[in-house]
């Protein structure tokens, strides 16, 4: 005999659109998510810099003069801070995702995060060296 599921009248609550303002943990999460906008922005800026270089000295000078504006400098300092916050929290979370064993030894979380930081610093140093050398 088929079993008939009993369906009483259930009450369902829908999640309010501003669910994230209810507690500090959620607010911190949403703010951290918003810092990814700075990551996207710097990617777009890189494309604009590349395009200006391609278009020639006039386009490059126009871009540099626009970026030299005090409001733009203040904006970029703020964007850089949020970018750094995003990157640092990202690297700090990396041991959650990366678990590496060498035989019986599990590489400690500190080394995993440290490896990411070392790679970050190394790549930045190489780019800085290439810029200075040119």
């Amino acid at each position: 005999m088929a079993y008939t599921l009993h369906h009483p009248k259930w009450h369902r609550d829908s999640k309010p659109i501003f669910w994230w303002v209810m507690n500090w943990a959620s607010i911190a999460f949403i703010l951290r998510e918003l810092t990814s906008v700075a990551v996207a922005y710097f990617a777009v800026l890189l494309i604009l810099v590349y395009r200006a270089l391609q278009l020639g000295p006039e386009a490059w000078a126009a871009l540099v003069s626009m970026l030299a504006n005090p409001t733009m400098i203040a904006f970029h300092v703020f964007a850089l801070c949020t970018l750094l916050y995003h990157s640092i929290t990202w690297f700090n979370l990396s041991p959650k995702a990366i678990v590496i064993r060498l035989g019986r030894w599990r590489i400690p979380d500190l080394l995993i995060a440290g490896g990411n930081y070392a790679a970050w610093i190394f790549i930045s140093a190489v780019i800085a060296w290439a810029y200075v050398a040119s």
Partner: protein
């Protein structure tokens, strides 16, 4: 120190046809009482119509999870004194349909647990004559924390993604899938990956991390899912290179 504390309990009586509403109960504020003791006191001495689930009252069965002042907790581990002077708001677990008062409908959760194939999958069974599967303490340590889950559903109430997208497989089920993926006796990794590497599976998780905060047994579902995502990304690259396709 006051001698009583007020519990504001969300009541839902489907037969009345009304919306859920809070009802106040005053209970003795005893140092050795948890919220579950207070609910039992209400049921036994004040209002026998109050409905809620509980069983072991010692953090093992996972039945008595409720929202206490908006946070998902096991009521058997929530001492009244830590909420003094009160009042204490008691509500059913968030994100689940409410059947009555503090009782939620858990079928969706149970189905999701079942869907991740939470058992040891073998490509070929080993004959009994070959003996048991051996495992070193290190191999056990790889997945042991995920075996501590008691299916209390607190992580589902803490997870805003599950609240917004009920199709999400959810923290406990994904951590349980990882429990078997990381078990060296299991060979069902690919089967589970095919099931869970999608928009309703691991890729729905936005790493809020509240599931791991809410877990009363120290399981880290958020970590398990991030690890699973890395394996999922590696699997995708592998399928791209080997042109395996899906």
């Amino acid at each position: 120190m006051p001698t009583n504390i007020t519990l504001q309990v969300l009541r839902y009586l489907p037969e009345d046809g009304g919306e859920p509403a809070f009802q106040d109960y005053e209970v003795p504020l005893r140092a050795d009482w948890v919220v579950l003791d207070a609910l039992n006191h209400i049921k036994d001495h004040i209002d026998g119509t109050l409905s809620y689930r509980w069983s072991c009252r010692m953090g093992v069965c996972g039945s008595c999870g409720m929202m206490i002042n908006g946070t998902p907790v096991l009521t058997c581990a929530a001492f009244l004194e830590s909420f003094a002077p009160g009042p204490i708001r008691v509500e059913p677990l968030a994100h689940f349909p409410v059947v009555r008062d503090l009782v939620v409908e858990a079928t969706d959760f149970v189905n999701k647990i079942k869907d991740v194939k939470p058992w040891i999958v073998r490509e070929t069974e080993k004959p009994l004559s070959e003996g048991e599967f051996r495992q070193t303490p290190e191999e056990l340590a790889d997945f042991k924390q995920y075996t501590m889950c008691i299916n209390c559903m607190l992580c589902y109430s803490a997870c805003p993604v599950y609240g917004l997208e009920p199709g999400f497989t959810g923290p406990a089920a994904l951590a349980l899938a990882q429990r078997y993926n990381l078990d060296n006796r299991d060979q069902g990794n690919q089967e589970r990956m095919d099931l869970l590497s999608n928009d309703e599976g691991i890729w729905s998780c936005t790493m809020v991390g509240e599931c791991s905060e809410a877990c009363p047994k120290g399981v880290d579902p958020a970590g398990a899912i991030q690890r699973y995502k890395l394996a999922g990304a590696a699997d995708w690259w592998k399928s791209l290179i080997t042109r395996k396709g899906k």
